[in-house]
């Protein structure tokens, strides 16, 4: 009986009632080391597109020109907060959680090379890839709509009904050609190596 009275008195204390009715845990904060959505720093973007090339999620990051300056833009709802773009950016334009500081401290590096492979069985020599390639157009502005070119400096051009690769090393890995190929004959391989301490 006394215990019941004790319980009733215990639960009728104003302090207990106010604690029962209001939120008890302290406001929860996100720790500073959490890998949140990348934010841009003060550094200038050189439009090397390394972030777009490494990004594993479709349409998550895009480098666009806003008011005359190139900036990477993150699309929330697509970005998976992996932090690879922060590691890959050579100019430290992006920052997320602790990654940028760790990258400078431990000299982490993600370096990539690009390889183009064309399936000769499915390539029909339409030249779409050579025309849309942004590097090709910069090198040879007079590139024909059939994909043929007089210049020997272009990445690829249509020659005798087949697309031929001339300078693979100039590829920036933007994959525009893959998107425009009607037969999925052209594939760009992005070979990425993860190193540390500045050695390659």
């Amino acid at each position: 009986m006394t215990s019941i009275i004790w319980y009733i008195r215990e639960f009728l204390r104003p302090a207990w009632i106010s604690r029962f009715l209001t939120a008890k845990t302290e406001p929860l904060v996100t720790p500073p080391y959490f890998r949140d959505f990348p934010v841009t720093t003060e550094n200038e973007c050189t439009q090397c597109l390394a972030c777009m090339m490494i990004c594993p999620a479709p349409e998550a990051i895009i480098v666009v020109k806003r008011e005359g300056v190139w900036r990477p833009e993150i699309t929330k709802g697509h970005c998976i907060r992996c932090g690879l773009c922060v590691e890959a950016c050579p100019e430290d334009v992006l920052a997320s959680g602790r990654i940028l500081a760790t990258k400078k401290e431990e000299k982490l590096l993600l370096s990539g090379t690009y390889h183009i492979s064309i399936n000769p069985k499915t390539c029909m020599g339409c030249g779409n890839c050579s025309v849309v390639c942004p590097v090709n157009r910069e090198i040879d502005p007079s590139l024909r709509s059939s994909g043929t070119s007089r210049s020997n400096e272009v990445i690829m051009r249509v020659d005798t009904g087949q697309n031929k690769i001339l300078h693979e090393e100039k590829c920036t890995g933007c994959k525009t050609c893959e998107e425009h190929c009607p037969n999925n004959a052209i594939r760009v391989a992005r070979v990425v190596e993860a190193t540390e301490g500045g050695k390659l």
């Binding site: 720790p31 080391y33 959490f34 890998r35 490494i54 594993p56 999620a57 998976i80 907060r81 992996c82 932090g83 690879l84 590691e87 959680g97 602790r98 990654i99 760790t102 431990e106 982490l108 390889h115 492979s117 594939r187 391989a189 992005r190 070979v191 990425v192 190596e193 993860a194 190193t195 540390e196 301490g197 050695k199 390659l200």
Partner: protein, 361 residues
């Protein structure tokens, strides 16, 4: 043989106690379960189809999203498989860091499985204790990798970043906290009379049945089969690993096997922290052409990656075999049959720790 069936009882796909959609169709006579069948296919995404033709930096994240609960082991297995193909040997410190993150992930997965079981048998106090302890593990995962669930910590040639000494100290104190707290919770579980009523002798899987049906992971180890792929892994061998085996084969044994493995993981992380020497964490190296079948031990059992790469490191063919498919079949055909009560259907099913997202991908 003609069976007298009172009612065909469907459980799911959206059930208050299931984290994931799946349907168990039970044929019952009164409360007695005659037979059960698990219907899957609600979360099929076609991950293996998406993976084809992509380089490691994309497939790594897809592999992680095969299963959100045990994401680190999928990352680990895929990366070690492509490393084996290309002959990359990670630095020693990176190998230990991988083990630390993997064991932390195993701890949170086991604690989550045991939380689900305690919640299913309506022992909510213990369930909340275990779930709160899991937050300690998640904090450590976040401290080391920067993310709570999809860590993306392991990459070819090493790990993303190093573990400095101050974070190692915080990890050690968290391990001590987990050790002392979990000892208390395990005693509650062992001595609780109501837990024993719902667990001991329920959902028995004999050793013969487990062997015949190829049960894997803690489900097999609770039935007396000493099978653990970690025994074949060089880093775990260096840490002196030996599997946890129990012989009862009921719900109680499966949950206790998981609790024991959490203690084992704590000890593995401690010895890895002791053995770790300062050094580089990334060795570099590019992926080359080849094919491999590679096995590792996921929290739920044996995980197999069978993959073929081309000369630029892109995945040509990939097949993943996840542990849950074995355990779900074992659960449906061996454990659920002859269950005494329809109330035990969910608790038996949860005790085998099914992961539907793994199974269907």
């Amino acid at each position: 043989m003609k069976k007298t069936v009172d009612i065909s009882l469907p459980v799911g796909p959206v059930h208050p106690l299931f984290k994931e959609p799946c349907r168990i169709k039970c044929e019952t006579r009164g409360e007695y379960v005659l037979s059960a069948e698990v219907e899957l296919g609600y979360v099929k995404k076609g991950i293996e189809r998406i993976m084809r033709g992509r380089p490691w930096q994309e497939v790594m994240f897809l592999a992680e999203r095969v299963c959100g609960i045990c994401s680190v082991i999928h990352n680990y297995t895929f990366i070690e498989a492509v490393e084996k193909i290309s002959g990359i040997i990670p630095p020693e410190r990176a190998a230990y860091l991988r083990v630390i993150v993997n064991e932390l992930d195993r701890m949170q997965s086991h604690l989550l499985a045991n939380y689900s079981y305690c919640y299913t048998i309506e022992h909510e106090t213990l369930a909340m204790y275990v779930l709160n302890l899991r937050e300690t593990v998640m904090d450590q995962l976040e401290l080391i990798t920067g993310a709570r669930v999809t860590c993306a910590y392991i990459i070819p040639g090493g790990v993303r970043w190093d573990l400095p000494d101050d974070r190692a100290e915080s990890l050690k104190s968290a391990l001590d906290h987990i050790d002392s707290e979990l000892t208390r919770f395990v005693r509650i579980f062992e001595t609780g009379p109501f837990i024993a009523l719902r667990s001991k002798g329920i959902g028995i899987l004999t050793k013969e049945a487990a062997e015949a049906a190829y049960a894997v992971g803690p489900t097999a180890r609770a039935s007396g089969i000493s099978v653990d792929c970690r025994s074949d892994h060089p880093t775990y061998q260096a840490l002196g690993f030996s599997p946890v085996v129990r012989h009862e084969g009921d719900n109680y044994a499966r949950i206790m096997a998981r609790f024991d493995e959490v203690f084992q993981s704590v000890n593995l992380i401690r010895s890895a922290l002791l053995k770790m020497q300062p050094g580089p964490v990334r060795g570099g190296g590019v992926i080359q052409a080849g094919s491999i079948q590679y096995r590792m031990e996921a929290p739920r059992g044996e995980l197999l990656y069978d993959l073929v790469t081309d000369e630029y490191g892109r995945i040509l063919e990939i097949a993943i075999q996840t542990p849950s498919i074995m355990n779900i079949q074992v659960c449906a055909h061996e454990m659920l049959t002859d269950a005494e009560s329809a109330a035990d259907i969910t608790s038996i099913f949860i005790s085998s720790d099914p992961c539907i997202a793994c199974t269907e991908r």
